[in-house]
Structure formats: structure tokens, C-alpha cells
């Protein structure tokens, strides 16, 4: 473990401890309902930026991965009554395979063509699930939550804690990738794929690896959503809003550092929760659109980029 890893792991432990403490002392269920959604988006945004941020392949298939995660959980629960941990683990494995498939797409496509292909993939998977009678089809499927395990008082509290665990896992992985040869290789192929290949960077292997990790994390983040809503239907599980929301979160935070998507997801996630309560969910989408346009136009490097530029300017001022 590197020296600068110690503060990170202490922070992660404190974060989990605070979450666990919350589930023990707060009685009101609403913070957990809202907090769960925000944490879920943190995982999705961090996972997205492993491929979209480091490697520069803009994946619009977040909703495909999310939906596949949801329906893997639904399938396992309905067929075998599998416990939550198994659902999540299985979703991660399925997500890794789906990620591998998306990785193969990058063989032939770059830039906008890759993005369009991932949208197409989403709709194709959604339609297949819609036509799968066993999983409820277009009408959706209801699920009965199993009894909650100690020490939690309610199922939502437990899901909240599980999602917090996933956040730590996702951030730890993203942080490791960023600092290791994998991250540097992805950065190189983002800047110039041909040049990277020529200087001996194993671009294909790296891209596949990034897709597999990103896909596994996204699917894992989606798996508990079935139990959270006690209901799943294809048009909301595969909704394009997930893809665009996650993209917006990553771009708002900035993709150069793992903290970017975390900050972006918390910022946009909290805003959306507040808006959904106070105004309406339509305004939510409007705010999403406006924030996306604003940041892409005015702050292409996101908040992280703004902070960096500010620091650089100040350093130059002092010198």
C-alpha cells in the first residue's frame, strides 16, 4: 500500500462507519430512500468514467448495464429466491460479459459511432427483455422483499448500506486504475490510439479491461434497484435518462480524476432529489439538460478542471 493510500482508506472506513451509524440512529425512512439513489448514481458515474473518462469512449449504454443488472437480480430472485449478495455478484459477472461485448464494438468504432452503437445496444436489449414473458414483459413485475437482516431495521436501510459498500469498491477500483499503468495506458490511447498502439501500449487489451470493469460495476449498481422499488419494468429500467444523467454527472464533475464523477453525482443527485420533492420530475429532466449544455459549453473539463485552472492561475500570480 502506497503512503498516500492511507488517508484514502481511513476516509473510506469513516464513510462506511458514518453510513452504518446513520442506519442505527435515524428513524425517518426518507433520507435512506433519497440517499440510496444518490449513492447509486455515484457508483454509476465512477464506473462510467473508467471507460468514458480515462479512455475517452463515450458510452451511452449506461442504461443497458443498469437494466441488465436489475433484470439479472429479478431473474435470480424469481427463479431461485437468491439472496441480495448473490444477486449483486451475479449481476457483476453478467455485466463483465456485456462489457466484454461492448469492448469488442470498440474494435471497429470510435467517437460518435461507438456512442450511437451503445444506444442501439440498449434498445435491442430492452426490447428483448420486453418480450420475455417470464420476466413480466412490458407490464413489469412485482417483487416481495424478503425479511430484513439484523442489524438493520428496514430493508431500505440495508440497501443504502450495501450501495455505500459498492461506492467504496467502485471508487477504490477507479483510484487504483488512475494511478497504475492501466490508467496511463488508457490516457495514452485516449489522446491518440494509433500512436499508443505504435509505442507498445496494448490498446485492445486495455479497452476490453476498461469495458469489463466499468460494465461489471454498473450492473452491480443496478442489481439492488429491483428490491429497492419492489418492482421492475423494462421502460424504466432501461430508460435513456440513466445514460444521460450519468454522463452529465461525470462531465459536470470532470473526468480527469476519480473525485470528479463523485462530486458531480452528489451535486446533481442532491439537486434532483430536492427538485423532485419540491417541484416535479419534469423539471428534473429540464435541469439535467440545462446543466449538461452549460457545462459542456462553459466548463468542458468540469468542476475539477475549473479548480485546477483556478489553482494554476493563483500559483502564477504568486510567482
Amino acid at each position: 500500500m502506497k503512503r498516500n493510500s492511507v488517508p484514502f482508506w481511513i476516509g473510506a472506513a469513516l464513510f462506511l462507519f458514518a453510513i452504518a451509524l446513520m442506519t442505527q440512529i435515524i428513524d425517518n425512512q426518507y433520507p435512506f430512500f433519497a440517499g440510496y439513489v444518490i449513492l447509486q448514481f455515484v457508483v454509476l458515474a465512477v464506473a462510467w468514467s473508467i471507460l468514458g473518462g480515462y479512455a475517452g469512449y463515450v458510452n451511452f449504454g449506461t442504461s443497458a448495464f443498469f437494466g441488465v443488472g436489475v433484470y439479472t437480480a429479478v431473474l435470480l430472485f424469481k427463479a431461485a429466491g437468491a439472496p441480495l449478495a448473490v444477486q449483486i455478484a451475479a449481476a457483476a459477472i453478467v455485466g463483465a460479459f456485456l462489457g466484454f461485448a461492448v469492448g469488442l464494438l470498440t474494435l471497429r468504432m470510435q467517437g460518435i459511432f461507438f456512442s450511437i452503437a451503445t444506444i442501439a445496444l440498449t434498445i435491442v436489449i430492452e426490447t428483448s427483455v420486453t418480450n420475455w414473458r417470464y420476466l413480466g414483459g412490458a407490464a413489469g413485475i412485482q417483487m416481495q422483499r424478503p425479511p430484513v437482516m439484523a442489524p438493520f431495521h428496514s430493508y431500505v436501510q440495508m440497501l443504502f448500506f450495501v450501495q455505500a459498500l459498492l461506492v467504496v469498491v467502485a471508487v477504490a477500483i477507479a483510484r487504483y486504475i488512475q494511478g497504475s499503468w492501466i490508467g496511463r495506458g488508457l490516457q495514452a490511447l485516449k489522446d491518440d490510439e494509433l500512436a499508443a498502439e505504435c509505442t507498445g501500449v496494448p490498446t485492445l487489451r486495455l479497452k476490453l479491461l476498461a469495458c469489463v470493469i466499468s460494465g461489471a460495476l454498473m450492473c452491480a449498481a443496478g442489481a439492488p434497484a429491483a428490491m429497492y422499488l419492489q418492482y421492475a419494468d423494462p421502460s424504466s429500467a432501461f430508460n435513456l435518462n440513466y445514460s444521460v444523467t450519468v454522463l452529465a454527472m461525470s462531465l459536470i464533475g470532470g473526468t480527469a480524476h476519480w473525485a470528479g464523477p463523485v462530486i458531480g453525482a452528489i451535486l446533481l443527485g442532491v439537486t434532483q432529489q430536492l427538485l423532485a420533492v419540491t417541484i416535479s420530475s419534469e423539471v428534473n429532466v429540464l435541469v439535467l439538460g440545462i446543466m449538461l449544455v452549460l457545462f459542456v459549453v462553459a466548463a468542458p473539463e468540469g468542476l475539477i478542471g475549473l479548480v485546477r485552472r483556478f489553482r494554476r492561475n493563483r500559483a502564477e500570480g504568486e510567482a
Binding site: V58, G111, I112, I119, A120, L121, L286, G289, L292
Partner: protein, 290 residues
Amino acid sequence: MDLLLDAVVIGVLLGCFYAAVSIGLSVSFGLLDVPHVAHPAFLVMASYAVFFLNDRYDVDPLVAGLLITPLLFFFGLAAYRLYYETFERRGTDAAVRGIAFFFGVAFIIEVLIILQFGVDQRSVTASYIGKAWRIGDMRIPLRLVVAFAVASALTILLALYLSRTFMGRAIRAVAQDQEAVRLMGANPVRIKQWAFGVATAVLGIAGALLIIVAPVEPTLDRAYIGRTFCVVVMAGLGSMSGTLIAAIILGVAETIVLTLFGASWAPAISFAMLLGVLAIRPQGLLGRRS
């Protein structure tokens, strides 16, 4: 067998309609390389404008489409100017940020439509809507025939514009080699802006056809992302004749699948074909790039 023949005839009619809604994208994405995912949102917006004129002032939808065409042209000019200033001029990864930008724009349009018109389906009234032609056992809705005729005319006119007029050739020249155009003393940005304006103006009629063919709802643009991009990519970026052929292939494929497997598979057809084309033959049927 009769059913299949029916499907093919309807498919060809539908295909020409798809060509009309895609032809603008064929210019903006195919020729100008603008990742215009908001194209279907612009289209739905035009449909709602047509609906408004038809509902409030009882204007025929096609006339309404013509009326909003100049507005859309200027809207297109402004949209390209904004895109150019913020992305193309800054250079690097313009396409990637551009697609995020246009998604944001599409979402904003969706919500504004919802806030103004609500989430219900809307349709227009005109004398040719609701009637049908009978040829033997075959029943062809008149609205599809109208859409077919207008769409074919629109597509052919735009193709002629691009190949015969001075400005049309200038647009294709920019698509081929922007630097060469600059060296000839022309301003490529002005030409591209004009082209984007034309591509958006075409949506007036296309939007009218959209609401003639079927009722529209605010989030209809999502289904048309697949259809329009499928047609444009399959056509081979920027090929006008390819657009017509690809659209007819898509139309026929959709109606055949609809007849054989049912409506629930329909949304996936265009996206599956798009995925297939991207994976197997990215340059499309009549690609301009080898």
C-alpha cells in the same frame, strides 16, 4: 403471402416517409459531421408547431409545415453558430462533447414540449386522414400515400438541390475537403451554417408528415434516434440516393417484422440494423469514404 405483400407495399410507403425525416440528418451528420442527436427532437418540435397551427387556426398540416420552414431555417443557422463557436472552433474531441451537448438540447426540448402541451398524444385533422384506398384486398391508408408522395418529392428536391445548384455543390465541396474550399477563397463555416439551416428547414415538412402518419408524443424523438441514424449510416454518410434506398429497406424490414412477430419487437428493428451496419459495413451501402 398476401399479408407479406401488404407488408412490403406499406413498408415502401413508410420507407419514403423515413427518408423524409432522415434527409436533414443526412446533411447535418452525413455531410457536415455534426453529431446531431437532437435532430429527432427538432423533428418532434416541428410536429408540435404543426399541431398548434392546425389545432388553433385550422391550417392544413402540410401548409403549416411550409409556414414554419423559414423559422426552422433561422433556428438551424443559430444552432450551428452556437455549435461551431463552442465546439468545432476549439478543436479536440468536438464530436464527443457535441453529442453530449445535443443530448442536453434534446432533453430540454422534450421537457419544454411537456410543459407546454402535456404528455398526451397529439394528432392533426385533415381531409385525407382516416380514409383509405382499397386495391383488391389491400387497404392502404390515404395518410401514408400522402406522406409517401410529399416525402418522395422532398427527398428528390433536396438531392437535386445538392447536386445541381451552386450552393448545393458548395456544401458537398465542404464535406469533401474543407481546407480546399478555404483555399478557393470561400468561407467553409458560412457554407456549413447555410447547410445546417437547410437541413433544419426541411424538418418543417418532415414534422408535418410525422404527425400526419401517426399521433406524436413528447418523447417520440427517442425512437427516431434509431430510425434516422440507422438510415443515415446505412446509406453511407451523406449519400442522398443511399438515404432513400436505406429508408425503404428499413421501412420494409419494420413492417415485415411487425406482421410476423408483432408490434412489441418493432422498436428494436432500426437499432439492431444500425448495430449490424456499424459492425459489418461502417461505410454504409453507398459510402463516400472508402
